[in-house]
């Protein structure tokens, strides 16, 4: 048995510590060590994006990273998208409302890529959305309703944001 390394990672807001083999893939750490099975594996070549998570604010394909490389980092997986009270994220609502999923296997990765996209570009055009999710493959939807789902979420988040700003303005 190979020597294990101790790593500490903050996952969905919770500090996790584990002793892992140096070669353990981050996706296996997430799925098997932490039992967060929402993150999926769809290929061996970094093409499909089913394993996408957000690490330190940026998307990574967790099948292409070792768990030890995430040591000290902060990870968001699909399980961390909804609020702790169970309120769905605008993207999750968008995917449901716009029929942005069928078999559901690519969905967690799509959600995480879309999350990172909206974080950096809150009002993306259709083309920007298509490029933003181009690292994630979907075999069921033909992407059209995923694009609509992201637009749905962007509009909702913009509205929530402007209402918050308005409320802030009134308070002032």
């Amino acid at each position: 048995m190979a020597k294990k390394q101790l790593i500490t990672v903050k996952v969905n807001g919770r500090e996790r510590e584990a002793a892992v083999e140096a070669r353990l893939l981050l996706v296996h750490f997430i799925r098997e060590s932490l039992q967060l099975t929402g993150t999926h594996i769809g290929c061996d070549t970094s093409h499909c994006g089913a394993c996408t998570v957000v690490l330190n604010g940026k998307t990574v394909k967790s099948c292409t990273m070792f768990a030890v490389q995430a040591d000290g980092g902060e990870i968001l997986t699909v399980e961390g998208l909804a609020s702790s009270a169970g309120q769905l994220h605008a993207l999750q609502e968008g995917f449901k409302q716009e029929h942005g999923l069928q078999c559901g296997f690519c969905t967690p990765g799509m959600l995480m890529s879309s999350y990172a996209l909206l974080h950096s570009n809150p009002n993306p055009s259709e083309e920007e959305i298509r490029w933003g999710i181009s690292g994630n493959l979907c075999r069921c939807t033909g992407y059209q309703n995923i694009v609509s789902a992201v637009q749905h979420a962007a509009a909702k988040m913009a509205k929530a944001g402007s209402e918050a700003n308005l409320a802030e303005g009134v308070a002032k």
Partner: protein, 773 residues
């Protein structure tokens, strides 16, 4: 019915709470890894497993010889052939299963698999199916009595009468078209967790299965385990598209390992293993010829096809139809005569020939007829839309008996096509094309007016391994008026949990939200043949309606008892029975459900349940017209799909949102097949499309915006007039894409280009014709 109800299944998927096979984690579970052949054809001199077994954490290494001792080295395919589970004697294709390593974790299993030493002696390789029947061709299957590579010859229609029509024909048009080997490539690969309990003698297998009941029966037959001691659970499935219909060697190995070790064994294939060894699709080398008069009236069709099935005939075709429903190749048109023949051959390639998002070879058939009709239009110098309109089976001739024997249930081909032509602005597009041609620019318009044949199928014609292709539904209405329904089908993303609940809601008036749908557990669901070939709505959907109607019949008796009236005095509106002329005197289905357990008529059996095994009287025949508009970049050969309109007719629709979603997805898969995908082999039998590096799937960037519309011609024999639809876009679209590209180049003398139409292929044509920029 007819409402875009949001999907029930979504809540778990969007929160990462789906339960796919690889998510199943049982106490004490260990992992299997398949050792695969690097050669396409080689004698196995010896296998040395000692080094692998010596790796700490390795529990077992199983070889074909080990399996042979238990008579498990071979297993039956779903097409009356047999397939090696683990190779004995020789390997027949690259990546064939040779040994199975079981270890405490998947990393150790992978390490140990590297240490299995196999001494191979290479043999001559048969790659080209056109050479399979040559004398002196390498013999792929030494195990068969028949010492050649021929699997089957199948023909239908009247050869002589067709020949006579051709001899006197004014015009003949033909096309030689290859439908390349492609792969369904669902995003989730295949796998299982086999869990044999020595304490109970029961085997539970969590399986990526589109047909869990049939797989239970196969496991019982192969493994010799009593069928009542096998439970197959098909949990959430990450896409199937036909890939998860066959039984794969990895499943059998995991089961054997669990039986041997008495612990749960997980086997999940990698993407490369999925593409290189599991059920591929198509690989049809086709020739079609059409006879017509000078005015474009079609007279006869003949088709000759060579089918490459790889090393084992591991298709999953109904018994009577070794080439599936390929004889739908007469398409949407009328002819006096037709004849079709198919020969299947073995080669040193991965086994399969599965129905990839297709009702058993219908995609090949639809592509071929829609291609050759365009070639005929070129010969006649006639507009392809006009030629089609001239030859469609007219609406008033349905039900229509085709010259190859099918009874098309219903159709209005002209209606769908005229809507499509109108919506896309066909005449304007032709004008634009003419103007562009004057400027030397390349633009094409492609039409495909396909007819599908789905919903297998009637028991007089359809079985797989003898099991008739009915399907089922069991509904239980609980005392509080909520219901649970189970089916023999299995959703892989089609949204059954929502649409079946909508059917129950329609028939019983119980809100869809109060109806839970469960599929995939063979211990609880009634027997059925599963989900593929667009059969769920035509079979289990029908069974759901019929079972609900049985419940309604009983409910009526209970309502009459409660209302103290005669049954004949009651009328039904969704959700309640009321007394004719006195609508205030009524009982809701919830009242009745409660009474079924608490206050039922004397002598009546308590409870409110029904089961139906539905044997459809005919198949359903969805159809449509697809129109594709492309522009070709003369510098790069890249084809840009400017517009794509799909007009579909699948009869009455349960959930328009789900139907539209399926059409988007199927069109995207069609796009990939037309422009990007092929699993090719080099002369040594090395697979050339064995990972997503070289087997391309379109991303959101390559995928165009799809336009959809519909007409509605209800199925006359289905309980609520529905037809299948999931496969139409994949069946109908390849011809539209290819016809559009050929149309863009037809004035240069181009009549056909084989798929996949890559930029390189187009650029070569542009060079040859002197129009490259």
């Amino acid at each position: 019915m007819g409402h875009s109800v949001k999907r029930k299944e979504d809540l778990r998927f969007i929160q990462g709470k789906g339960n796919y096979v690889d998510d199943v984690n049982l106490p004490g579970m260990v992992y299997g890894q398949v050792v695969r052949s690097p050669y396409a054809h080689a004698r196995i001199n010896s296998i040395n497993t000692e080094k692998a077994k010596a790796v700490p954490g390795v529990l077992a290494v199983i070889t074909g010889e080990d399996l042979a001792k238990a008579n498990l080295a071979w297993m039956p395919t779903l097409s009356y052939d047999k397939q090696m589970v683990l190779a004995t004697g020789k390997v027949l294709f690259q990546s064939q299963e040779v040994a199975f390593v079981v270890a405490e974790d998947r990393y150790i299993a992978a390490d140990a698999a590297e240490l299995v030493e196999v001494d191979y002696e290479e043999l001559p390789v048969l790659v080209d199916p056109n050479k399979a029947l040559d004398s002196g061709a390498p013999l792929v299957r030494e195990d068969r009595e028949q010492k050649n590579n021929h699997i089957f010859h199948w023909e239908v229609g009247n050869r002589e009468a067709t020949e006579q029509v051709f001899q006197s024909a004014e015009v003949r048009a033909s096309v030689k078209a290859f439908f390349p080997r492609c792969h369904p490539a669902p995003l989730e690969t295949c796998g299982c967790v086999a869990d044999f309990s020595r304490a109970t003698g029961r085997l539970t297998v969590y399986l990526t299965s589109q047909a869990p009941h049939a797989h239970r029966t196969v496991l019982a037959l192969v493994g010799g385990i009593p069928e009542n001691n096998i439970r197959v659970i098909s949990p959430d499935i990450g896409g199937g598209f036909g890939n998860k219909v066959p039984v794969y060697p990895g499943y059998v190995c995991a089961v054997v390992a669990s039986l041997t070790l008495g612990v749960p064994v997980k086997w999940i294939e990698t993407r490369s293993e999925n593409l290189q060894s599991t059920g591929f699709a198509r690989d049809y080398h086709m020739m079609a010829e059409i006879a017509s008069d000078r005015d474009g009236r079609m007279k006869a069709l003949r088709v000759k096809t060579l089918a490459d099935h790889g090393a084992f005939n591991a298709t999953a075709q109904p018994t009577k139809f070794p080439a599936g429903l390929f004889s739908i190749c007469t398409g949407s048109y009328e002819y006096a005569q037709a004849f079709c023949e198919v020969d299947g051959v073995y080669t040193n390639k991965a086994p399969g020939g599965v129905a990839y998002r297709c009702s058993f070879r219908v995609t090949e058939a639809a592509y071929l007829i829609e291609r050759v009709v365009d070639v005929l239009a070129l010969e006649l110098k006639m507009d392809p839309a006009e030629l089609r309109l001239k030859n469609f089976i007219p609406e008033d001739k349905f039900p229509y008996k085709s010259s190859l024997g099918w009874t098309y249930d219903s159709g209005n081909y002209e209606g769908a096509m005229k809507l499509a032509l109108d919506r896309i602005g066909y005449q304007e597009l032709r004008k634009e094309q003419a103007e562009k041609r004057k400027k030397g620019e390349l633009m094409g318009i492609g039409i495909s007016s396909f007819t599908e044949i789905v919903g297998a199928g009637p028991s007089h014609d359809f079985d797989i391994l003898g099991i008739k292709m009915f399907d089922s539904c069991e509904i239980r209405v609980h005392p509080t008026g909520k219901a649970m329904a189970r089916m023999g089908t299995k959703s892989q993303g089609q949204g059954h949990e929502t649409t079946y609940a909508q059917i129950v809601a329609q028939e019983l008036g119980i809100p869809a939200g109060d109806v839970t749908i469960e599929e995939g557990d063979t211990d609880t669901a009634p027997y059925g043949l599963g989900t593929y070939a667009s059969r769920s709505t035509p079979t289990s959907g029908a069974a759901t309606a019929v079972a609900a109607r049985k419940i309604r019949d009983k409910a009526k008796k209970i309502a009459a008892y409660l209302l103290e009236c005669n049954e004949n005095d009651l009328e039904w509106e969704p959700g309640k029975f009321f007394v004719k002329g006195a609508p205030s005197k009524s009982k809701t289905i919830q009242d009745i459900a409660f009474a079924a357990y608490t206050n039922f008529p004397p002598g009546m059996e308590p409870g409110l349940e029904a089961v139906d095994y539905y044997d459809p009287p005919n198949l359903t025949f969805p159809f449509g017209t697809y129109i594709c508009v492309v522009d070709i970049d003369q510098g790069t050969g890249e084809v840009k799909v400017r517009r794509f309109l799909a007009v579909d007719d699948c009869g009455n629709i349960i959930n328009p949102m789900i139907v539209e979603g399926q059409i988007h997805g199927g069109l995207t898969e069609g796009l990939a097949i037309a422009f990007m995908q092929q699993i090719d082999y080099d002369e040594s039998g090395n697979v050339q499309g064995g990972s997503f590096m070289d087997y391309l799937l379109p991303t959101a960037v390559e995928t165009p915006h799809w336009e959809t519309d519909k007409t509605c011609t209800p199925c006359p024999h289905h309980p609520f007039g529905a037809k299948g639809v999931g496969e139409s876009p994949n069946v109908g679209s390849p011809a539209a894409f290819v016809n559009a590209v050929v149309d863009a180049l037809s004035h240069l003398g181009v009549k056909h280009i084989d798929m996949p139409i890559t930029p390189w292929k187009v650029w070569k044509v542009l060079q040859e014709k002197g129009v490259a920029a």
